[in-house]
Amino acid sequence: MNETTEVSLKVDLPGLPMKNPIMPASGCFAFGQEYADFYDLNQLGAIAIKAATREPRFGNPTPRVAETRAGMLNAIGLQNPGVDHIMAHELRWLERYETPILANIAGSTIEDYLYVAEKLSQDARVGALELNISCPNVKEGGIAFGTVPDVAASLTEKVKAVSEKPVYVKLSPNIADIVTMAKAVEQAGADGLSMINTLLGMRMDIKTMKPILANKMGGLSGPAIKPVAIRMIYQVSQAVSIPIIGMGGIQSVDDCLEFLMAGASAVAIGTANFVDPFICPKIIADLPQRLEALKLSTIEDLVGRSWKTCVTV
């Protein structure tokens, strides 16, 4: 390896030509405006925007969040202003940045998903869609499509048929066999996978003796779920040939490297944005030095290194 080679952070994923492998995760960054107060969003590799549904949604009653040891539970309930508003306002606001957009879509019926997918995929600002079949917080939808491989595959196929952009499927960890699920959606035409969504959890309030969350159950995120995410990405990346956007508790550059070694091609930062609004640019800034220290010149060199046959450099 040539020691003087510049480290390249570039990652080229379907629909998402990323200058680095870091993006904020859907639901943890709204539509970017709040974080634009802190830094230039053009620094990001991509932006996964908050889930869009056909109609505006208020979401669940409060309390919607509860802290846990090394993590947090949330039950926001897919609050969003609806796809039309997002296309008329939020995506137009994002035109001031060049960063590729991964648009997350959710629904409670197949028709809803297709309606939102078709519309959003026609928006010039959208690079790819992220099919949310794993939100644990909405009774009638989301996860209903994400626990049975045949159902997930059928939805993926239909969304692919109406979408003009690549489709990533966001997988739920709340299933017995993640590999079967991943293979099913790959076969149905998915261009990539996002994994993992939150793990379903609960907390009780000692004073009231009732669940803290108004929705009772919520999705667990944060460092507590990182080993689960890494294990699932390790398994799935060896079984499929489509790229994986890895997420689940990433807080530092080394966390990010672990995900890449496990088999992710890029990573998304979720809960950590709430703790430190500067976390994404900080990790991006830390990456070149860490790659150099590991004697790597591209992100690609690291993807799946934990299981790929070792190549001498």
Binding site: R69, I76, T271
Partner: protein, 260 residues
């Protein structure tokens, strides 16, 4: 402009049962715009308590670059915060939110400040700011009992101060609304911060004056991105319109949002 800064603890003391007064020093203080804004504290750099804690500003001294917070030890995060010493540094995100509109009261006018429990602290900063603008301030402060009451003298130094407690151990027995009724307290504008039932009672019992309420909710990001602390608007109580307590609030004009 909101920012993240490691602020230095200048003073930290227990002022009532489980109630702590924490004074921090740093550049961030210069950005504080108005009483009623809050800061979001990261208690640990580790992962034990991951999420920040929103705490209101009880006092601000821009010249000394100091701000004072008053908080109640409630759970693990505030317990750990209470163990921090003078000289320690605390990771602070702020200032956040929109505070009490000082311009709602005009010079020479009368303002009534109503607080309950750990809703009392931001009213101290507010009262000082109003007084500076030539507004007469009257305070009605409610506490569970004398053991958890604080800042009585500080408030008295600024204007007439009435106390109420649930058990009658300090001030008159009952709620702040009982005091307002009994003393027939009138004002051009009312500012309040405290438990939701107190805010609801004020909304019902004081329909004729401009009333500003500071709300509280469990938050994650504190900057309007996570959608944890939203509330319905009164014009669309069942619909999809909403306000974010952290960003649009925490202070709202009575009648604007539905009180949880």
């Amino acid at each position: 402009m909101k920012q993240v800064e490691k602020m230095t603890i200048i003073k930290h003391r227990c002022i009532a049962e489980n109630i702590y007064e924490l004074t921090l020093q740093g550049e961030l203080v210069q950005s504080i715009e108005e009483p009623g804004q809050f800061v979001h504290l990261r208690v640990d750099n580790g992962y034990e308590t991951l999420i920040r804690r929103p705490i209101s500003l009880a006092n601000v001294n821009k010249k000394a670059k100091e701000c004072t917070l008053i908080y109640r030890v409630e759970g693990e995060g505030t317990t750990r915060l209470s163990l921090k010493c003078v000289g320690d540094r605390v990771d602070v995100l702020g200032p956040l939110g929109h505070g009490f509109p000082l311009a709602a009261a005009s010079s020479g006018g009368r303002a009534l400040l109503v607080g309950g429990g750990v809703g009392v602290p931001p009213l101290y900063y507010l009262s000082k700011a109003l007084k500076q603008r030539g507004i007469q301030v009257t305070h009605v402060l409610g506490f569970a009992s004398s053991a958890v009451a604080f800042y009585e003298e500080e408030f008295r130094a600024l204007g007439p101060t009435y106390l109420a407690s649930v058990d009658g151990s300090i001030g008159s027995q009952g709620f702040v609304t009982d005091v307002i009724r009994k003393e027939n307290l009138a004002a051009d504008v009312i500012y309040a911060c405290g438990p939701t039932p107190m805010l609801k009672a004020l909304e019902v019992s004081c329909p004729d004056q401009p009333l500003y309420l500071s709300l509280e909710e469990r938050m994650a990001c504190g900057i309007g991105a996570c959608m944890a602390c939203v509330c319905h608007t009164q014009t669309d109580p069942e619909g999809s319109s909403y306000k974010k307590i952290c960003k649009d609030g925490p202070v709202f004009k009575a009648g604007e949002v539905v009180l949880g």
